[in-house]
C-alpha cells in the first residue's frame, strides 16, 4: 500500500499547447534524476478552456457518468 502524501503546487496554473506537466524523481541532495521510479495512475484535474480533444499519448479523458 503506497503511503499518501500531499504537496503544494501553484494556483491558477494556466498552460497552453506544447507545455508539459510531468512527475520526476529527484535526488534530494543533488537534484539529479533517480532511476528505477515508475509513475502510474497519473490523473490531472483541469478546466478545459478550449474546444477539442485533450487526449495525448497515454493520457485520455476520463469518461463521465453519461459516457
Amino acid at each position: 500500500m503506497a503511503a499518501p502524501m500531499k504537496a503544494a503546487m501553484p494556483d491558477n496554473v494556466d498552460i497552453g499547447d506544447s507545455f508539459t506537466l510531468r512527475v520526476a524523481a529527484l535526488d534530494p541532495s543533488t537534484g539529479d534524476a533517480v532511476a528505477g521510479v515508475n509513475i502510474s495512475n497519473m490523473s490531472i484535474e483541469v478546466d478545459h478552456l478550449t474546444a477539442g480533444s485533450l487526449d495525448f499519448g497515454p493520457f485520455m479523458l476520463v469518461p463521465g457518468p453519461s459516457a
Partner: protein
C-alpha cells in the same frame, strides 16, 4: 469552462507527464500520481514540474519529505497546501540541565552574592545546536551555537533568601551585579519554609555561539540553599 480529468492509462518511467495538445489550453486544478520507487536505488523526492516547449523547467513543486528507496507513495498536488516547517527531521533540538541536592554536591548562595547554577543531569539532542560547559561551577554554561530563536525556562526550589532572589536566565557576558531578582515567598506546601520560583525568556541571538547561564541571586542578608533546579531550552527557529 468544463471541468475534466485526464488520466494516463499506462505505467511510465519517471519523468513522465502530460503534454498539452496543439491549440488546447487548460487550467490545472490538481494532480495525483502513484510513484513507485520499488526499483529505485536511493531515496528521492517526487517533483511536479512544468516544462516549457524549449524543455526548460518553468517551476517545480516537490514533496516535503523524501520517499525511501524501495518505497512507494500516492502523491497529490494541489494549491493551498502549507509547506511543513523546516526541521532536522528529528524534531525540535532541545537541551536541559538538572540540579538535585539529594543527588549532587550541595550548592548555596551566600548572603549578598550571586552565583551561576551548576547542572549535573544533562540532555542535549543536537550537539550542533547546544554545548554544555563549565565556566565557574559544574556545567553552568549552555552555548547556543546557531543564531536564532530559543525558548528558555528555569524552575527553582530552595531557600527564600530572606524574601528576595531566585533564578534568572542571562547571557554569560552580563556581570552578576546587574542581574534582576524576584520576590521569593515561602511555599506553604513545602517543608521548612522553602520557595518555588521560575524564570522564562525567549532569546533571539543575532550571532552564533551565544552563551547563557542560570544565575541564582541572593541580595538578602541570609545564606540561601538550593534544592532543585531544572533548566530547559528549545531551539525554535534559525536565522539572525
Amino acid at each position: 469552462m468544463a471541468d475534466a480529468v485526464i488520466r494516463a492509462q499506462q505505467v511510465q518511467t519517471a519523468p513522465a507527464g502530460y503534454t498539452v495538445p496543439q491549440a488546447q489550453e487548460i487550467v490545472v486544478k490538481s494532480v495525483r500520481a502513484l510513484v513507485d520507487g520499488s526499483g529505485a536505488g536511493s531515496a528521492f523526492l517526487a517533483v511536479l514540474q512544468l516544462v516549457a516547449p524549449d524543455k526548460s523547467v518553468v517551476w517545480e513543486a516537490q514533496t516535503d519529505t523524501t520517499i525511501a528507496a524501495g518505497a512507494s507513495a500516492n502523491v497529490s498536488w494541489f494549491p493551498g497546501v502549507s509547506p511543513a516547517v523546516a526541521s532536522s527531521g528529528a524534531g525540535v533540538a532541545f537541551a536541559s540541565g538538572n540540579y538535585d541536592s539529594g543527588a549532587n554536591p550541595p550548592f548555596g548562595v551566600a548572603a549578598g552574592t550571586n552565583d551561576s547554577q551548576p547542572f549535573y543531569q544533562l540532555t542535549n539532542t543536537d550537539p550542533t545546536v547546544f554545548t554544555w560547559s563549565t565556566t565557574t561551577n559544574n556545567d553552568d554554561t549552555l552555548t547556543l551555537h546557531p543564531a536564532g530563536t530559543y525558548l528558555c525556562f528555569v524552575g527553582y526550589q530552595g531557600g527564600t533568601g530572606g524574601g528576595l532572589g531566585g533564578p534568572v536566565i542571562v547571557p554569560s557576558s552580563v556581570p552578576f551585579a546587574t542581574h534582576n531578582y524576584q520576590e521569593l515567598t515561602a511555599n506553604p506546601a513545602l517543608p521548612g519554609g522553602f520557595a518555588n520560583a521560575s524564570d522564562y525568556t525567549i532569546i533571539h541571538s543575532t550571532a552564533s555561539d551565544y552563551a547563557v547561564q542560570v544565575i541564582i541571586t541572593n541580595p538578602s542578608g541570609f545564606n540561601m540553599s538550593v534544592f532543585e533546579v531544572d533548566f530547559y531550552v528549545c531551539y525554535l527557529a534559525t536565522g539572525a
